[in-house]
Structure formats: structure tokens, C-alpha cells
């Protein structure tokens, strides 16, 4: 059973195409990550799937209902967390939840019970009667999530839920999403952060310029992208060549050398083993180093890679 499907979705704003034929299929009960840079079309796609925007062409279903022909039934089946915390700043957390409960046509006492339960679940029970304007960014996000879960919808859309949050608030949101998924909710999540899909998603679709440029599980994608990287900064430029040769021998991949910064970088497959071997190898060779770092590829590197090589375009599960 597919919770979300999209077929050949197009959307243009005037002459500007935002989506150019996107296909999507999200199995019920899974977390699907939609990864892409600003302006890739992620928000447009979410707005179409949540009935806020009409596609120029193409079809889509959510929870089995057509977004164009049965928008009311789609709306009754979804929760949406947009890019801004779309809650009333003046009202309290509890008043917000009760209002959205009423708008989902819950009875008065049911809306109240549900609001109290959600505040409890998202760690807002103590602050539930305070005005939202006094909340921290993370608390607002959690309230926003709670508001989208008033009716326990089977499908939840999260549009860049952690953009602009500090690391602690970000992990609070991740924790909340994980607990939802454990309850069987299907989640479609857009993000600019590789780390976020890595932590949360079962399946990832990468979009850029309104088209799907890659799709697969996070580990499949990372494999295609060359996985993690080790960067070594040496003390003396004279050691650059020796370091590059050493890293090539250890990893079997071709290192990049950045002479200006005295840095050699290489993709690695087994992070910890490669790190240990690199440090030991450098030490044995007597190369003085200033820094050794193990890191994930940045989104820039991901997109450079995806747009540079044709064989990485489609990774099928």
C-alpha cells in the first residue's frame, strides 16, 4: 500500500518551471526523505501533495485519495508542518492545539483531551498555558508538530522541519519524528541536510531543478557518493605527494590534493578502520600532520557528484 504517489507532476509559476515531471512513491509506514538545495522544488511538491497548490499537470494521491478530486479527504488524512512554525503566537500552546482540534472537527472535550495528551507527549505540559511568543524555536517546532498530529493522521508532511534550529532543538525534533514513526505514521520529510535523511529516512529522493536526480536508501546513496571522506592537513608542503600516495594505497581511491591549504582528501569506505590506518600510516612514514578529519560529504559535494556522473543518476533499491 502506497501512502503517497506522484506521477509526472509538473508545476510552473508563470514561465518558471518549479517541478518538471516528478514521480514519487512512498510505502505506508515508511519515512521518505526529499533532499535538495534551496529552490529545488521540494516545497512546491509538498504544497501540491497537501492540496495547497494545484499542479500544472500530473496526478498525485495521498492516503489513497486524489489530491485534485478529493482534497477534503486528503486534508482529513494529513498533517503538515511547513517551513515556518505555523502556530498562533498570541495564544497559548494548549489554545492552539484546541483550536486546530476543533478545525479538524473534534468535539470540544475531545479537542481538549487531545491537546493535553499532545502537550504531554511533546514535553510541553509545563509550558502549555504560556503564550507561544515566549517559546524557544525548538518548543515552537514541537508545538507545530503536535498541531499537525491532532487527529493522528496516517500521513505526515514535514517541510524542512529543522531549518534554522540550533543543534539541540534539531535533535528534539528528530526524537519526536522517530517516536511518530514507531507509531506507524508515514512521514514525508524535506530537508537540505544530508545528516537529517541519514538519521531519519528509510528512502531518499534527491531533487534539483524540479527533477529527481537520484533515489535510494541513504546507505545506497552514500555509497554512490563515495561515502565519508578523510582530510589530512600536513605541516610541510613537501609531504603532500607522499601523503597522497599513502592515502591512495590505503583506500584504493584517488585522493584530491589542495596545495594552497596543504590538504589531501580522499573518499573512504570503512570510516573507523580507514581513520586508524591513516593515522598509523602517517606516523610510520614520519609525516608531520596538523589535522586529520573524518567527515561526511557536504551537500555541495553530493550535488557536484550527482550532476557530474551519469551512472549515479538512478540507484534502485
Amino acid at each position: 500500500m502506497e501512502a503517497v504517489t506522484a506521477h509526472a507532476l509538473h508545476r510552473r509559476f508563470g514561465a518558471v518551471p518549479a517541478l518538471s515531471g516528478v514521480d514519487l512513491s512512498v510505502p505506508a509506514g515508511s519515512v521518505h526523505g526529499l533532499l535538495g538545495p534551496n529552490g529545488a522544488g521540494k516545497t512546491t511538491l509538498v504544497r501540491i501533495l497537501t492540496t495547497l497548490l494545484r499542479p500544472t499537470a500530473g496526478t498525485a494521491t495521498v492516503a489513497g485519495f486524489d489530491v485534485l478530486r478529493e482534497p477534503d479527504r486528503v486534508r482529513a488524512s494529513i498533517g503538515l508542518v511547513g517551513q515556518h512554525a505555523a502556530v498562533d503566537e498570541i495564544l497559548s500552546g494548549r489554545q492552539n492545539l484546541e483550536m486546530f482540534g476543533r478545525l479538524h472537527h473534534l468535539g470540544r472535550s475531545e479537542a481538549r483531551t487531545r491537546a493535553v495528551a499532545l502537550l504531554e507527549r511533546f514535553g510541553l505540559a509545563d509550558t502549555g498555558s504560556r503564550a507561544v511568543s515566549t517559546y524557544s524555536g525548538g518548543m515552537r517546532r514541537r508545538l507545530d508538530l503536535a498541531a499537525s498530529l491532532i487527529t493522528a493522521p496516517p500521513v505526515l508532511f514535514l517541510d524542512e522541519p529543522t531549518t534554522g534550529l540550533d543543534p539541540r532543538s534539531r535533535s528534539e525534533v528528530w526524537e519526536a519524528v522517530r517516536s511518530l514513526v514507531a507509531g506507524g505514521t508515514t512521514v514525508l520529510l524535506t530537508t537540505q541536510y544530508l545528516e537529517e535523511v541519514d538519521r531519519l529516512a528509510d528512502h531518499v529522493t534527491v531533487i534539483d531543478h524540479g527533477t529527481v536526480i537520484a533515489s535510494g536508501t541513504p546507505s545506497q546513496l552514500k555509497g554512490q557518493l563515495g561515502g565519508d571522506r578523510i582530510d589530512v592537513v600536513v605541516s610541510s608542503p613537501a609531504d603532500l605527494a607522499a601523503t597522497a600516495a599513502l592515502l591512495a594505497g590505503l583506500t584504493g581511491n584517488t585522493p584530491d590534493t589542495d596545495e594552497d591549504n596543504r590538504r589531501v582528501g580522499v573518499a573512504v569506505d570503512d570510516r573507523m578502520a580507514a581513520l586508524t590506518a591513516t593515522v598509523r600510516g602517517l606516523s610510520d612514514a614520519g609525516i608531520a600532520v596538523e589535522d586529520v578529519t573524518l567527515r561526511r560529504p557536504t551537500l555541495d559535494e553530493v550535488f557536484l557528484h550527482l550532476t557530474a556522473t551519469d551512472d549515479a543518476r538512478m540507484v534502485t533499491a
Binding site: R75, A76, D88, S148
Partner: protein, 266 residues
Amino acid sequence: MNRLRWALADGATLTRRDLDHWARQPAQLVIGLLFPVMLVLMFGYLLGGGMTVPGAVGGDAYREFLIPGTLALTMVFGLEGTFQAIKSDVARGVTDRFRSTPMASSAVVVGRSVADLLSAVVSLAVLVLSGLAVGWRWHDGLAAALAAFGLLLLLRFAMLWIGIYLGLVVRGEGALVAVQILVWPLGFLSNTFAAPSSMPGWLGAIAEWNPLSSTVGAARELFGNPGWGGESWVAQHAILMAVLWPALLIAIFFPLSVHRYRHLDR
């Protein structure tokens, strides 16, 4: 039938939201109510001594004359509140969240209308009390006075739809300031504080044809308060125009607003 019931329930939910705003921000409510009272005091006592009204002289007569104008001006300034509320919901994504729920799409405007009209009634009541305190009275009976209040609320209702439409259409941070600035000439280029006959000819004509002037003129007539008179057709038919002007504005901005709201998905 079920649809209608939900539309009413959803409208009530959003009206309640605004009433909750008042309860949570009483200071804002009070400041909003005091602003027109301040206008009464400022024009009544600071400037009123220098004003002459046909058939009467001095500050007392000017205050008799001033109160209907301030009541109507407050209705026009209400446009800012409507605009601000609609625009901030759109900007913050609250409108999108509403639209992604199964609620009736009419509820946003129904809730807004009811809440804003309730707020207008409260403003009128406060202003009437302060008017009575500075010596203003209605002289032609309660029925005529109630008719005047009805016309004032009709003007507010017309402003409501202009505010909703602008709130849905206008983008950008400076928009509120722009609307606030534009509302002032609408308020002052009228017969509210000064006689159009005292203005340069073309300006006076614009002031006489200002919808606000018709409501002010009608209210003065119904309350039995002194007015500027005026020989022009529009000044002679103030009560008729106080009905026609708002009706025309509603006929323009109601469908525009509904269309705009329905097509937020375009």
C-alpha cells in the same frame, strides 16, 4: 446541511480565537480603544476651540459635531486591524495550515468578520460613553441613533472586505505602514474635522464624495448633531449614500476576496 453546520462551527472557532487574543493581550485591546478617545480629546479640546460650526460657536458645539466624525473615522481605521490580522496569518503559514485542514474555507472570513464587528461594537460603545462625557448627545430619539450605529457598522463591514482583500494580496514587510499611511488621507480628506467648503474647490469635492463623509453626514443627521450643510447632491443625500457607498465597496471587495482566497492554490 451538515456542511452549513460545520461552516458555522468553524467560523465560531476562529471568532473564539480572536476573542482569546483580546483576553491574552488586554493592554493592546485597551490601547486600541483609547486611540479614538484620544482623537476626541485632541480635536475636542486642543483644536476645537478654534473651530466654528455653522449655527453655533465654541468648543461645545464643535464636540457635538466631532463625535459622529470620530465614530466613523474609527470604523475606517479598523481596516488596518483586519489587514494586519489576515496578512500575518498568510505570512506565518497559519493560513496554509488552516487550508490543509478539513475546515470550511469560509471560516477564515466568517471568523474575521464576526470578531472585527464585535470589536467595532466595543469601540463604538467606548467612544459613545466618552462622547457623552464631553457633552455630546443624540437629539432625535433612540431609533434614529440606532440607525446611525447601524450605518457606522455597515461602513466597518465594507472596510473589513477591503482589509481582507489587501491582506491576501499585499506582500512585504512595509505593507502595514503603507496601509496605515494611506488610511490617513482617506480619514482626513473628508468632512470629519473640517468643512469641505473651506477646502479648495476640487479638494472639497473629493472630500464630499469620500464614502466616509457620507457616513459622517448621515450620522450627524440621525443623531441631530450640527453638520457643515453643503449644497452638493452628495451632501444632501448623506443617508442614502451612507448605504450605497458601503454596498458598492462590499460588492467589489467581497467577490475579490473570495476569489483570491479560493485561488491561493493557483
